[in-house]
């Protein structure tokens, strides 16, 4: 028996990830004295905000039953464009920043057009784009890291006081982005269309949704979000780094999957993605505080992903 759409949205398996996050926090809190402190939580959010923001775009695309392998590369290119235009070309920082965002959105647009107009699978389109953008980043940057950035590009790395804790503006922006997309996906017609498209493109089309236009819009919007991730990255590291983002495509997919969103499209919540990103960040931080080498963090993240997908599959079987 098929539950009505709103109920199915609520019943996405975000409860499991949330429970995992809370338990992980408790575990690390009991085992290390430094874990349960404001500054440490602020740190964890700073550490996950770049991949978390990428994962917002990734969630949008995965909800349409697509996938984006190029997100990290697009972000890296956006970061180089912003910093290089501002520093080397002497453009006003706001203009350089806008150009970076526009370039990222542009790559999203191209991805969306290739997926819809030529009916190429998203996996193939974004795999190709990953290489194209990676190469462009290295060609355009001349393999050089850009330093001495103007204040506008590093502003999000600045902090404000929240009680005893320093919080970066970037962390705040990330949370706001998640809330914005939770609203857009959960409470607007556009959001319902995205879910419908992911559930069944044919049914979505027959109900009058302009699926091609919607898909192109989703990829473009995701690109724009990667541009914001680029700004967050640049503000966090204080440099434009052509090597950045190389594994962030997979890390963003990890966050989406850990957050309970189905890789087969149509089911999931963007706030689940936030939980997924935080799970990775909490494990990395907590294990490091305990003195566990980073290779174990990789191991545990891998196990978590497999378990998360297994849980998704089992719950799908039950709803069928």
């Amino acid at each position: 028996m098929q539950a009505p759409l709103p109920r199915r949205l609520i019943s996405t398996p975000v409860a499991g990830p949330l429970a995992a996050l809370v338990l992980a926090c408790l575990f690390f809190g009991l085992n290390t004295g430094q874990f349960f402190t404001g500054p440490n939580f602020s740190l964890i959010i700073q550490q996950v905000m770049v991949v978390g923001t990428l994962a917002i775009g990734q969630t949008l695309i995965i909800l349409t039953a697509g996938i984006d392998l190029a997100c990290g590369a697009i972000m890296a290119f956006g970061g180089i464009v912003m910093t290089k235009l501002a520093v080397d070309s002497g453009l006003p920082p706001l203009l350089a920043l806008s150009a970076g965002l526009a370039v990222c959105a542009g790559f999203g647009l191209v991805n969306g057009l290739l997926v819809t107009r030529i009916s190429l699978p998203p996996f193939i389109v974004t795999l190709g784009m990953l290489n194209v953008v990676f190469a462009l980043t290295h060609i355009y940057s001349d393999e050089q890291t850009v330093t001495e950035l103007p204040a506008l590009l590093t502003f999000l790395g600045q902090t404000f006081q929240l009680g005893q804790t320093n919080v970066t503006y970037g962390s705040l922006l990330t949370i706001l982005l998640f809330l914005l997309f939770a609203y857009l996906l959960g409470s607007t017609a556009w959001g319902r269309h995205v879910y419908a498209l992911g559930n069944s493109p044919e049914v979505a089309r027959l109900t009058g949704i302009r699926t091609n236009r919607l898909t192109v819009g989703v990829y473009t919007l995701a690109g724009l979000v990667y541009g914001i991730a680029a700004l967050l990255l640049v503000s966090r590291t204080g440099v434009g780094d052509p090597q950045a983002g190389q594994t962030d495509n997979l890390d963003s997919i990890t966050a989406v999957v850990l957050g309970g969103t189905s890789l087969f499209g149509g089911r999931g919540l963007v706030l689940g993605t936030l939980v997924g990103a935080l799970i990775v960040g909490v494990f990395r931080n907590g294990l490091q505080l305990m003195g566990v080498p980073s290779i174990y963090q990789t191991l545990i993240t891998g196990v978590l992903v497999i378990l998360a997908v297994a849980v998704d599959q089992l719950s799908r079987r039950r709803t069928r």
């Binding site: 290390t32 550490q47 190389q246 594994t247 003195g291």
Partner: protein
């Protein structure tokens, strides 16, 4: 919904049980030292970790370690620095993946009162860290350059350079040192082919194959490290050229030193990662004891290893090399 919650709980319980065994070392009055390498898997960094572990045990310190996911992974190194500072380390030993991009994160750690020492690779600028314990990479290149010059004995050279990757200082220094030692300028017509290998054997082989396509009469190959050199050797052997082409390299890993012994590589400049880590940990121990900060550059030494020594270039044989190799 109800059915899903227990699944999540089960997942977490399993994981927590799985990593609970590692929690014992968390208690601490013992000072902590952090080691951050470029990757977790490269034997060079594995050896570095062994050296750090030994020195930490001897000096009564607790070692924390972390690494990037790939060579050039700046973001993971920044995260590791932050987490180690949060864990209250006295000092951090780091092999920076991106020599410029890591600088702001190092500054934050130093502002928090942590001693930061670069191992193996200097930051840009070099004084962004308190101290540097490393091989003189220019000298390492220069040694094999001088060796090659003498070994060629006046024969006109057709050189291939199998380099690291653009924009990475270690590779640039070794390359420049080699040219200086060989007595040619960058852009000299005797350098007929230059390719990046990322220090990888398979990429080294591909690079050499392509170089041979371009210039079949190459007779001298400079390689950034021994995996690249062995890749080059494989490519040369396939063309039946392995006997009349001189391969020189840098690193002094055990596999590489054996390849020198077997005559596949003519000579290599050996460096000492164990020593870098040991000295680094000792410096942090001293800082934890009496607040004294290490400064400046400490050369951890480089030795030319070859069994076909040439006049005028100091070298040790492969017996010495194997006794002191890493990996």
């Amino acid at each position: 919904m109800n059915a899903k919650l227990p699944a999540g709980l089960l997942v977490t319980a399993l994981l927590l049980a799985g990593c609970g065994g590692n929690g014992q070392s968390a208690s601490s009055a013992t000072p902590k030292v952090g080691l951050i390498t470029k990757t977790e898997t490269n034997p060079f960094f594995v050896k570095m970790k062994v050296g750090a572990q030994q020195a930490a045990q001897a000096g009564g310190l607790e070692l924390m370690s972390a690494a990037g996911k790939f060579d050039g992974d700046n973001a993971s190194q920044i995260t590791a620095i932050e987490n180690m500072v949060a864990a209250g380390v006295k000092g951090i030993l780091i092999t920076p993946s991106d020599t410029k991009a890591i600088v702001p994160a190092i500054k934050k750690a130093r502002d928090a009162g942590v001693l930061v020492i670069a191992l193996d690779t200097p930051t840009e600028p070099q004084d962004a860290t308190d101290a540097l314990f490393a091989t003189d990479n220019f000298k390492a290149g220069e040694l094999i350059g001088r060796y090659a010059k003498a070994a060629m004995a006046g024969k006109p050279a057709k050189i291939a350079t199998l380099d690291l990757a653009p924009g990475i200082t270690v590779g640039q220094l070794r390359h420049d040192g080699f040219l200086k030692g060989f007595g040619v300028q960058e852009g000299d017509p005797s350098v007929v082919c230059s390719q990046d290998t990322r220090g990888d054997q398979a990429k080294g082989q591909t690079a050499m194959e392509n170089c041979l396509q371009k210039a079949p009469d190459i007779n001298l190959v400079y390689t950034i490290n021994e995996p690249a050199a062995l890749g080059a050797y494989t490519a040369l052997k396939a063309k039946g050229r392995e006997k009349d082409v001189l391969i020189v390299s840098v690193d002094g890993g055990c596999a590489g030193t054996k390849a020198v012994q077997a005559g596949q590589i003519a000579a290599t400049s050996q460096q000492y990662p164990l020593k870098m880590a040991e000295e680094g940990v000792k410096a942090v121990a001293a800082f934890a004891r009496n607040g004294q900060k290490a400064t400046g550059y400490t050369d951890t030494g480089v030795t030319l290893i070859t069994d076909r020594a040439v006049a005028g270039v100091e070298a040790e044989d492969t017996a010495f090399g194997l006794a002191n190799c890493w990996g």
